[in-house]
Structure formats: C-alpha cells, structure tokens
C-alpha cells in the first residue's frame, strides 16, 4: 500500500535525476578538493553528509514521500529542496563559527607577535655588541 501511494506521489524523474547528479557532483568535487589538500577533512564532512542524504532521498522514493507527507509537504520534490536548504543554512552557520574562532585566534596571534617583537627589540638593545 505504502509503496503504491509512494509511486503515485513520486517526484518526476527528471527532478530526481537532477538532484542525483548534483549530489554526485558535490561528492566528486569535495573529494577532489580534499585530495589536493585544498579542503580540510573536517570541513568536508558536512558537505559529504549533505550530498549523501540528498542522494539517498532522491534514489529512495518511498522514504522521501513518507517523510514529506509526515511533515505535511504536499510535493516530495519540495521536501528534497527543503532538506538541501536546511543543509546550506547549517553550513553557513558553521562557517560563521569558524570565522569567529579564527578572528579571535588571529587577534591573539597579532598581540603575541607585537609583544614579542617589542621584547626582542628590547633585548637587542640591552645586549652589548659582540
């Protein structure tokens, strides 16, 4: 029964194909970036997670249809895009967190460098020329 209902409400094939293609592309690009050491593993994980979940939802029609009707979304493709959008929001927030942490660390580094440079200058002046 569920399978029948799912088949009836399933998203059109071309949309699913598009989502699958995007998910595969994201995985390929992210893996390639990690391979070239341009992207760190820890920041790649969220991207890969998003791509894999989108992929699963696009392939496994029953799951998507059940989920979307559970939360009251009439059209399953919309549920697919909602999931993608949620991932984008989480990704952006996590990037803001990373930037905030880097800003703080950057400030502390600048302060240390400034103080050490001053200390070094002081020591050089104190030390008699050899």
């Amino acid at each position: 029964m569920i399978v029948l209902a799912a088949a009836r409400a399933a998203p059109p094939t071309y949309q699913r194909v598009a989502v699958i293609a995007i998910a595969v592309l994201v995985v390929v690009v992210v893996v390639e970036l990690v391979r070239r050491r341009r992207l760190m593993e820890r920041y790649a994980l969220l991207w890969l997670g998003a791509a894999i979940i989108l992929f699963v939802l696009a392939v496994w029609q029953g799951l998507l249809t059940t989920l979307s009707s559970e939360v009251g979304i009439r059209s399953p493709p919309n549920a697919l895009f909602a999931v993608g959008f949620a991932f984008v929001v989480v990704l952006l927030l996590s990037l803001s967190l990373v930037i905030s942490r880097l800003t703080e660390q950057n400030k502390q580094l600048a302060q240390r460098v400034a103080l050490l440079a001053d200390r070094l200058k002081q020591l050089e002046q104190e030390r008699p020329e050899t």
Partner: protein, 243 residues
C-alpha cells in the same frame, strides 16, 4: 621601573600623537607611556617613539579592542599596578590623569575610574547632539544593568587597578569595547566609578565610531550588552597574575 602605565591606542595619529605623549609625560610624570600602534600607515609609531613613548606595533589592524587589550597584556606581563587608557587623538586631557589616580586611591574597593564628560555642566567637548543622544541611551541602559550611576559609558578615558588589568588582559571586547567593558567589570563583581573630566575635540584623525556607521555601532553594542546579560556569569574574580 614605575608601576603606572598609560596605554595610548593610536591609528594614523601622526598629527597629534607626539603632543599626546608629551602631555602625559608633562602632567602625569609617574606614568610610563605605551603607544599601541594598531597598524597605522603613517609615521605614528616613529613619531611616538621619538616623543619618548614605548611603542608596540600590531602587525596589522586588529581593531581598537584588540589594540587596547594588547596594552593590558603588556601591563600585566610587566607588573604594572595601575593602567590608564588615553586616546591618541588628543581628546583626553593628560592633566586629568593625576585626578583619576587620586580618585582610584581614595576608594580601595573601586577597581576602575572612568573620566566622564557628562557629570558636571562644565563646558568642553561633548560630541554632536545625535551622538550625545546615543551615549545617553547607553548610559541609562548601563546604569540600569549595573545598579549604579553611569553617565558616560562610551568614554575610553579610564584607569584600572591591577585587578582590572588582569581581567582586561584575559577578556576584552573586540570592537567598540567601552560599553561592554563596564558590564564585564560588573559581571566580575569589580566596582567602578566616574569622575568629571573635560574633553577636547579631537585635533586630528577620526573617531573609530565615525568610521563605522553609527547605527551599526548602536545595534552591535546593544546586541553585545543583551547577550552579555545572558552569558553565564564568570563569578570568579580576576585570576592570579601569571609570571
């Protein structure tokens, strides 16, 4: 080594940094002068050094909060007992420094004295009407939150004891730090007080607030204030000094 330090944050203040340094030496002789050059592109650092100040140069512009905190780190690491912040632009009158010091000495329980423009009706520079309105909003808000009278929450002319120095060295707000610093002190249950001073219009350079959009300044500081209330109270007093 004297144990009093004047921290002078400066960004492109070549026009008046020498005068600021000279006046501090002249009117507050017991104070070492530390100019924190926050990535100036002019000759601020060289001029300040020539005027007799110790100069610490940030490798790039980190913002007023980071620069001032660097001054407090220096004060902490070098064992200073008292530190006073003096703007590099000549707004703060060095003749008030001994008065701040006297006020700090009067009450041992007070850890920070702020020079306020608005405590008396005397003349002097008080900023533009619009900005004064903004300052008043902050003053009312901070007074309410700290249960004490604060008239000039945005004044950067303030003197702290060793405890204040240690606290600010550890934790100091990033940009537009003055308002938040008062709350920080209050959260650590350290007392602060104001005395009346007269300020002068800046002789050169530009205010860090003028550089930003004033509305952004208001919103950012208000956000910091309200989130600061929600933040878990540290509860502990300033840490023991690290060697």
């Amino acid at each position: 080594m004297s144990r009093h330090l004047a921290i002078v944050p400066a960004l492109n203040e070549a026009g008046c940094i020498a005068q600021t340094v000279t006046e501090i030496h002249q009117h507050a002789a017991g104070f070492d002068v530390l100019v924190v050059d926050d990535g100036s592109v002019d000759d601020t650092a060289a001029i300040a050094a020539a005027a007799g100040a110790r100069v610490i140069s940030m490798p790039f512009n980190v913002g007023i909060g980071g620069a001032v905190q660097c001054g407090y780190l220096y004060a902490r690491d070098n064992g200073y007992e008292v530190a006073v912040q003096v703007d590099g632009d000549g707004q703060h009158d060095a003749r008030d420094i001994p008065r701040l010091l006297a006020a700090l000495g009067e009450e041992p329980a007070v850890e920070m004295i702020t020079g306020s423009r608005f405590l008396t009706d005397e003349g002097g520079y008080r900023s533009s009407p619009l900005r004064r309105a903004g300052i008043r909003v902050f003053a009312a808000l901070i007074s309410l939150l700290t249960h004490q009278r604060v008239t000039d929450a945005t004044s950067g002319f303030r003197m702290s004891t060793r405890r204040g120095i240690e606290l600010f060295a550890r934790d100091y707000p990033h940009d537009y730090p003055e308002v938040e610093a008062i709350l920080l002190l209050h959260a650590h249950r350290l007392r602060s007080r104001e005395i009346a001073v007269t300020m002068r219009p800046r002789t050169s350079g530009r205010s860090t607030i003028a550089r930003a959009v004033p509305a952004y300044y208001m919103v950012k500081v208000l956000l910091a204030v309200f989130v600061g209330i929600l933040r878990a109270r540290p509860g502990i007093e300033a840490e023991e000094p690290r060697p």
